[in-house]
């Protein structure tokens, strides 16, 4: 690496003088590291571009005479999001004049809401999963856009697929909502909507609703 060059000076008169040293430092390792660092930063700044999730909201209609389309209660799953990353769901409709459905507590892990949604959406999920596996292994050859379109078709094909109503109260955080919409994408559910939470549901959350105990 570094070298010390000794100057051999021929002295007249045979006198032995102290030898002069001049140092020469070899820059090779430093330039090596610089090269690596520059290459590293040149390549890594291309990564981690922010990604985007699509949402489409239904048009806001302030006209009270136009009724919302009827949705069958046995396909509906209502997901209630509240503060502290707490998550509940119930099936059917919460009508204050009838006995209320059971409110079930769950969480954002894969054994929580995802399990429930997968159980309800088995047919569509299996179809989309099989299609994706086939494209991955090369059995089927499809362009990316064709795969997307076919997946969309499959998601809409099952007439008994669950309809999800996502409702959040005041304490919910933005990331809770993004997580739920993400679960929609992971479990390949196409029919979902973000709607306002109703007073009876707020009561169910706080535990003050009549005859609807929270089940763990």
């Amino acid at each position: 690496m570094a070298e010390i060059i000794q100057e051999e000076a021929k002295q007249k008169g045979g006198k032995k003088k102290a030898k002069k040293f001049s140092t020469r430092i070899d820059m090779t390792p430093m330039v090596d590291l610089m090269c690596l660092l520059i290459t590293f930063f040149m390549l890594t700044t291309a990564f981690s571009k922010p990604k985007a999730m699509d949402i489409a909201m239904p048009e806001k209609k302030d006209d009270p005479t136009v009724k919302a389309p009827e949705i069958s209660a046995d396909r509906t799953i209502n997901i209630l999001i509240t503060g502290n990353d707490q998550l509940y769901y119930y099936f059917g409709v919460a009508d204050p004049n009838k006995p209320l459905p059971q409110l079930i507590k769950t969480d954002y892990s894969k054994d929580g809401i995802r399990k429930v949604l997968l159980q309800r959406n088995k047919i569509v999920f299996k179809a989309v999963y099989d299609l994706r596996e086939k494209v991955k292994t090369g059995e089927l050859v499809m362009a990316d856009t064709a795969l997307e379109n076919k997946t969309k078709e499959l998601k809409k094909s099952d007439k008994n697929a669950p309809i999800i109503l996502i409702k959040a109260d005041e304490k919910a955080k933005y990331k809770n909502l993004v997580d739920i919409i993400d679960e929609m994408a992971i479990t390949t559910i196409a029919n979902y909507a973000i709607v306002d939470i109703s007073p009876i549901e707020l009561q169910m959350l706080s535990g003050t609703a009549p005859a609807a105990p929270v089940v763990q």
Binding site: M27, V31, I38, A52, M53, A56, K60, A172, Y174, V178
Partner: protein
């Protein structure tokens, strides 16, 4: 057999040209790259599996910070001859009875995201020091008595109806603020938005 011993000399590679080139490259990049304009607030996006790349051109971005403050960013659209940012600022000036000089209009066009009540815009544009400028970013008012975000979005959509709307919210922002922003957008006939997220892959398998 006579053994021929070759004198082993350690090779000396002269590194001068390589260091020369690195110096040149470094100088080139130091001079040609310009700093990205500072964002009004730091946003920590939530994660999602979405792999769709967030649009970078022709996009209106509404940023919702951790402190629930709302900021706005929009670009000059696809037609580079029209400066949409300057045009929108002129319309906002008319609305609030403000006057902007040409210099202020060009300064506005070079900044990126911003968020402050309209009456503080002039002071913000005139401040030279970037640390002082940061103090102005207190958020665009979105409450119903003073819904300035609605005005901004309306003027931008009039100038550039094809722009895509993206919402970049912090993971810890309150959902009700983001819902309010979405309501304001729906009032302006925007029903499709992109939510900006970081990629985190998740796999689900069908149960057997």
């Amino acid at each position: 057999m006579p053994k021929i011993k070759l004198p082993v000399k350690s090779p000396h590679i002269d590194m001068t040209p390589m260091v020369d080139l690195f110096a040149l490259l470094l100088t080139f990049f130091m001079l040609t790259t310009s700093f990205r304009p500072q964002e009004a607030t730091v946003i920590d996006s939530p994660n999602s599996i979405s792999e769709k790349v967030a649009p970078e051109k022709n996009v209106i971005t509404i940023l919702v910070g951790k402190d629930n403050k709302v900021f706005l960013n929009f670009d000059n659209g696809l037609d580079t001859s029209v400066s949409i940012r300057a045009e929108v600022l002129k319309k906002v000036a008319e609305q609030f009875n403000l006057k902007f000089t040409d210099k202020e209009l060009t300064t506005f066009s070079t900044h990126s995201s911003f968020g402050m009540p309209a009456n503080r815009l002039k002071a913000w544009l005139d401040t030279e020091d970037s640390k002082e400028r940061e103090k102005f970013q207190t958020g665009i008012p979105i409450d119903s008595t003073d819904n300035q975000l609605n005005l901004w979005v309306r003027f931008i959509r009039i100038q550039n109806p094809n722009a895509i709307v993206a919402i970049k919210g912090d993971a810890d922002a309150d959902f009700k603020v983001v819902k309010h922003v979405m309501d304001i957008l729906q009032d302006n006939q925007v029903n499709k938005f992109n939510l900006v997220t970081n990629l985190m892959k998740e796999e689900a398998k069908p149960e057997e």
